[in-house]
Amino acid sequence: MHGFANPTRFLNIARPLTPWLFWTGMLFLLTGGYCGLFLTPPDYLQGESVRILYIHVPAAWLGMGGWTGLAIAALVQIVWRHPLAGVAGRAIAVPGALFTALCLATGSIWGRPTWGTWWEWDGRMTSMLVLLFLYFGYIALARAGAAEGRGLGDQGGVSRVTAIFALVGAVNLPIINRSVVWWNSLHQGPSITMRGSTIESSILWPLGLTVLGFSLWFGAIVLMRMRAILARNKVEARLARMAREGAAG
């Protein structure tokens, strides 16, 4: 892992990888979306609204996966002081928040025709909403740290407090995962587990395409945002050096 600690080495890999991830992700997304909308049958109970599954599940997966990424980046930053870990954390936060918001919005839209209500304060929905607020908190802390220029190292990462916030916030992830088991909920129980799936295979198959597509797209966006942070940081460092040289000369 420390082999990628060098931003130059990281950029050499990230530059060709970014368009590859983006366009492959888009291809999977469009294929999965088309198949989910037009080729699969409606569910016997939920009817056509089951098609929202193909975007709602990847959004939930990436909202939670995003925070897992933030927590891992925070751990790597605190323990190994990896110079790119904080940059990765900052880059993950916004797409992670977007997918959490999309999970809540598409779930709410799905809930209206299926449950007869847009929202219910049950364990799954409330813990997912808490995750969205955690993302907002992380983004605010990271921006405040960046504006003050404190504790960011030399690459434009996040402060130690922000990294600790990401680690503490990870406590919410198992709560989201187990919420449908621990509490009574309108939300269905776990339908895809390590033991298999309770979803009929004729409906399930495009989900793999959209999950893979959104995941690749997420990777591309994180790389774009990391490249932007590194480039901006390079500009600031160079301008500061030029100012110092101008003052000395």
Partner: protein
């Protein structure tokens, strides 16, 4: 109840969010890398 307006709303919102963030991230990256490149050439 017709479910298609709900499906269209969910897919539309997702498309708007993902395409919007794609464009904003790409624009931000392009501007930052262009500025860094221009500054390196000026040195």
């Amino acid at each position: 109840m017709n479910h298609w307006p709900f499906i269209i709303a969910a897919y539309g919102l997702t498309a708007l969010g993902t395409l919007g963030l794609s464009f904003a991230s790409w624009l931000s990256m392009r501007e930052a890398e262009r500025t860094a490149h221009a500054l390196r050439k000026d040195r």
